[in-house]
């Protein structure tokens, strides 16, 4: 099976923030499963893309969601001219042919779906395909990486303690002001001045975390605002569209955010 399609050809722009790069390499050396912990839009996906490129491994990304079934991960029978044929799911592909498999926002999936990853995370490194009566042993290059947003508090949706303990975890948070400004400049192609302003605006929204907002503006949102500004949208309006409205539906919070953006410009 050819996974070229899943290879990352060009070096993605990633600005290391801490020791995450050598740490990940060390984990990969013994194929330890890795959990990337942090709020959305803080660079987890970009990081894993960068690491896959750096390690020269194909990367298979699966965005988890509530309606996802185990079949969506491991595969299913399909019909074709000769009858039924088995189709590997993305997880099985990664396991069989040695890719890094990235399960994004894994808590979003139901627990009965995510149980399939259990035997992949311990010494067994196997994936049972019950419907097919097959036990797939993992390719030596295979590695499992999941992302996890701890801010998402629900008693009902959480990883099992036993699952969590099998991963090493890398903590991601928003970059500091200087780094974040550089990332915005590079990603959105805006001036340092605009990038600094966006960082300042972002910090204002993050001050409201736990005071009406579940989460402040992400680096991704700031980049998107930057891109709108790059296309000649005024700062206020760009921020309105890229962060205020997406972040919250609460009119008071929206108003406070807009007003603090006004205060910044």
């Amino acid at each position: 099976m050819d996974l070229t399609h899943y290879r990352i050809a060009e070096e993605p722009f990633y600005k290391p923030l801490h020791n995450e790069v050598p740490m990940f390499e060390a984990a990969y050396a013994s194929r330890m499963p890795v959990m990337l912990k942090g709020p959305t839009g803080c660079g987890k996906t970009r990081f894993i893309e960068y690491m896959a490129w750096r390690l020269g491994r194909p990367l298979i990304t699966i965005a988890c969601h509530e309606d996802m079934t185990a079949s969506d991960l491991v595969g299913r029978y399909l019909l074709d001219a000769d009858g039924t044929v088995w189709h590997d799911g993305p997880l099985t592909l990664a396991v069989r042919y040695g890719a890094i498999c990235y399960l994004d926002e894994v808590v979003e999936a139901r627990q009965d779906t995510t149980v399939v990853i259990h035997p992949l995370t311990d010494e067994r490194r196997t994936l049972p395909l019950e419907k097919r009566n097959e036990l797939v042993a993992a390719h030596p290059d295979f590695q499992l990486v999941i992302s996890y947003n701890p801010g998402y508090q629900s008693v009902i949706k959480d990883l099992k303690e036993s699952t969590k303990q099998r991963f090493i975890a890398l903590d991601f948070s928003y970059p500091n002001a200087v780094e974040e400004s550089q990332i915005i400049q590079s990603e959105a192609g805006v001036s340092g001045e605009i990038a600094d302003l966006l960082v300042k605006i972002g910090a204002r929204s993050r001050n409201l975390k736990g005071h009406g907002l579940d989460e402040g503006a992400s680096t991704r949102m700031l980049i998107q605002a930057g891109r709108l500004i790059g296309h000649d949208m005024p700062v206020n309006e760009a921020c309105q569209a890229a962060l205020v409205v997406p972040i919250t539906d609460d009119p008071d919070m929206r108003d406070a955010l807009s007003e603090s953006i006004n205060a910044c410009v």
Partner: protein, 761 residues
């Protein structure tokens, strides 16, 4: 004036023996304000009044009121008075008419135009018709009322009173005597249609976003007989804000509130400690405060340039002749924040130079003292008058600056109003404290002498046992069987008013909750597989069928997927800790933990009822292992109605917290619930304890054991913690994810429903 007519008048007066009542000066004034013809008409009117045997002093008041009205609004207004007076007297009696004459002076002071005055008279006639008993009483307050309402607003306010009180004269009297809160609120709303409560959340979030400043906000309400609070004030963590800023309407009022809160935010972010008063004169205190305002605002503007726009809206001073210190200070305030403002007054020019030359030292509050002190001296030497008694900080968005100064035993006159206002607010707070009075009357520590007279059929102190539970002994690593006894006690309902009061003042939160509930209910639709009918083919099912057919089996005919709204399938048992410690006050507020918890539970119940989640509510406490008490507010089968609210309002804090036993009981009652998820929600202020247990770890470990065994039965446990000291123990009991600490307990009421929704969707 014809002699005949004059003669007739003379006769009349002589006959009535009342001429002496109207003094010569008033006669003279009458002749000045009226033309001859008008004077004639007026005396005809006087004659009509005299014929009605109106009192002596009322006659003089009438004459003087006529003069005032004619002077202010023209002769026609002076002549109208008499007809209105007659109408009022017909309906409300002589005393009412007399009171109206006396009150005319207030009307003349506050109403600008002749037509306003005419409208006022017409309203008074309507009042005499609709609430005759109240005319005289209202006249006593007329100055206060008209200070706040224009003629049109006065009219609607009077009508609101008549309508609101209906046929009950006593209630009308309350209203027009300003004893009824709704009367005061009504005209506060009339004079400014934006109340602080409507803006509070967004203004608070604004300063939270800018400076992580999360103050406690209190409303300065209006109290009759006292000047309406005009300026905000702050005192460390507490911020006092007028309920309404008179004369501010709509979006302007909203921005004005934001300007005010942002200004205090600037004090908090860039200010220093309190200044000592030392030997400073009132004018110096005012000027140091003014410079300090400018200093913190300029620092804030350096960080957030947009704030300048917000504040400058309210700096409207213009250069001109300097008559009084107050006017110069108004202009100086503007000069220090508005770089485009031109003013060549030498004092202002000098002040501006001093202030901006020390730009590099702006971070040091001392410069405010230095510059303000010098400027105050200058004004003194210029012999410019400053009236500390009447001085009010300008522009109106700024606070009274009492928070800048060390607290003095004897505040100088400039501060007295603020001090007054603070005192006021504190009193109101106390009144509003929603502790039902009965709590003290019926608390078991001080049982009422006359037990037999109690309303409750079941005596307070007799519970009946409903279950026994084991308890975990961590030292031996084993369960002590049947160790605790759970007794159910009668939850004594509070009076109906106390029940409904739980939800009052939370209208805004209720609206939010209902909206949230609405959106949670129409939550994401889900595809349900293997349906007989549906919107799309179920591919997996089709393939299974194909395979079945190929293998010769009998295929399942359900090939479709259909979209269904995801149902919440959750039942909840709310366990409310009502131990003694919940009677503690929260921080520096007047509210107790239990009062906040009761309100929070009421709002939460509203949310749960809205979502259709089956739920039960129990208060719990304990008095040793053989008396773990359950006070049942609502069962799963009951609906959350007024009587449940009353029982909730009647819960009071006493005894100890044997948490484990309560959890086991809650679990036992929850387990027959046939929902997919079952949740015990604990609201508590601290770690478990009881009188018969000395080892503080013992009950903590037992509770932890209880949580785990519930988890084993598939029952989730979540605790909302209200006090931070016992954090560690509570986290040990509930686990990190099973415990949410509310940092400001007084915010619990508004937060709890949202936490609940977040944790359960």
């Amino acid at each position: 004036m014809s002699d005949g007519k004059h003669g007739h008048l003379q006769d009349l007066l002589a006959e009535a023996n009342r001429a002496s009542v109207i003094d010569a000066a008033t006669w003279a004034a009458l002749k000045r304000v009226f033309s001859q013809r008008e004077f004639g008409q007026w005396t005809d009117g006087l004659a009509r009044l005299l014929a009605r045997k109106i009192g002596y002093s009322a006659i003089l008041d009438f004459a003087r009121a006529s003069v005032q009205a004619a002077r202010r609004y023209g002769p026609a207004a002076g002549l109208r008075l008499e007809a209105s007076a007659r109408a009022v007297q017909d309906k409300a009696g002589e005393r009412a008419a007399a009171a109206m004459f006396a009150a005319t002076a207030h009307a003349c002071r506050h109403l600008a135009e002749a037509e306003d005055f005419a409208a006022w008279l017409a309203t008074m006639e309507e009042l005499a018709e609709g609430a005759p008993e109240s005319v005289a009483v209202l006249c006593d307050h007329l100055g206060y009322v008209l200070q706040r309402l224009d003629a049109r607003e006065f009219h609607s306010w009077v009508h609101a009173g008549i309508r609101g009180a209906g046929r009950d004269p006593a209630a009308r009297l309350e209203y027009f005597d300003l004893k009824d809160q709704s009367a005061i609120r009504a005209f506060e709303q009339a004079s400014s249609d934006v109340l602080f409560s409507a803006v509070q959340a967004r203004a608070a979030a604004l300063v939270g976003a800018l400076w992580r400043f999360h103050p406690i906000m209190r409303t300065l309400a209006v109290t009759p007989g006292r000047p309406a609070p005009r300026r905000s004030a702050f005192d460390g963590a507490v911020l006092w804000v007028p309920e309404a800023y008179a004369g501010r309407h709509g979006s302007d009022a909203v921005l004005h509130y934001k300007a005010a809160i942002a200004h205090i935010g600037a004090h908090a972010a860039y200010g220093g400690g309190r200044f000592p008063r030392g030997k400073l004169k009132p004018i110096q205190i005012a000027l140091v405060s003014l410079i300090e305002d400018a200093r913190v605002e300029n620092l804030a503007i350096a960080d957030y340039p947009g704030l300048r726009r917000l504040w400058l809206r309210y700096h409207t001073a213009q250069p001109g002749k300097a008559l009084a210190a107050e006017l110069l200070m108004l202009r100086l305030s503007r000069a220090l924040v508005d770089p485009d403002y031109l003013d060549d007054d030498p004092w202002i020019t000098k002040a501006r130079a001093m202030f901006f030359d020390s730009r590099d030292n702006w971070t040091d509050p001392e410069i405010s003292r230095t510059i303000g002190g010098l400027l105050g001296n200058d004004l003194g030497q210029m012999r410019i008058q400053f009236n500390a008694k009447t001085y009010v900080v300008e522009p109106s968005y700024r606070d009274d600056n009492s928070g800048l100064w060390e607290i003095d035993d004897e505040p100088p006159p400039a501060e007295s109003e603020a001090a007054d206002v603070m005192l006021n607010a504190a009193q109101i707070e106390q009144k509003e404290s929603d502790e039902p009075k009965s709590r003290h009357e019926t608390s078991p520590e001080a049982p009422p002498a006359n037990v037999a007279s109690r309303a409750s059929p079941l005596p307070e102190d007799e519970g009946f046992p409903i279950a026994r539970h084991p308890e975990w002994d961590y030292r031996h690593g084993g369960l002590r069987p049947e160790w605790t006894t759970l007794n159910e006690y009668n939850a004594r309902p509070a009076p109906a008013a106390a029940g409904s009061a739980l939800l009052q003042r939370h209208e805004a939160a209720l609206v939010k909750i209902r909206n949230l509930v609405k959106s949670a209910k129409i939550s994401r639709p889900q595809w349900r597989s293997r349906q007989m009918q549906g919107e799309r083919l179920d591919l997996d099912a089709c393939i299974r069928t194909a395979i079945d057919i190929e293998r010769g089996g009998s295929p399942d005919p359900r090939h479709y997927q259909t979209r269904v709204l995801k149902n919440r399938d959750l039942s909840v048992f709310v366990l409310l800790d009502i131990s003694e410690s919940t009677r503690d006050r929260i921080g520096r507020t007047n509210r107790t933990i239990i009062s906040v918890a009761r309100t929070a539970t009421a709002l939460l119940a509203e949310a749960m009822a809205g979502l259709g989640d089956p739920f039960a509510i129990c208060g719990f406490c304990s008095d040793g292992k053989d008396d773990v008490r359950f006070y049942r507010v609502k069962d799963f089968v009951e609906s959350f109605d007024a009587s449940a609210l009353q029982r909730l309002a009647g819960l009071r804090g006493h005894l100890s917290t044997r948490l484990g036993a309560a959890l086991r009981q809650a679990g036992a009652e929850l387990s027959p619930q046939r929902t997919h998820r079952r949740l015990v929600l604990v609201i508590s202020d601290g770690e478990p304890s009881d009188i018969d247990v000395a080892d503080s770890d013992y009950l903590t470990e037992d509770a932890r054991h209880a949580v785990r065994s519930l988890a084993h039965q598939g029952i989730d446990v979540l605790c909302i913690g209200l006090q931070s000291e016992d954090d560690a123990a509570m986290r040990r009991v509930f686990g990190r994810r099973g415990f949410v600490l509310i940092d400001r307990a007084e915010a619990l009421a508004e937060k709890l429903p949202f936490i609940y929704l977040r944790m359960t969707t």
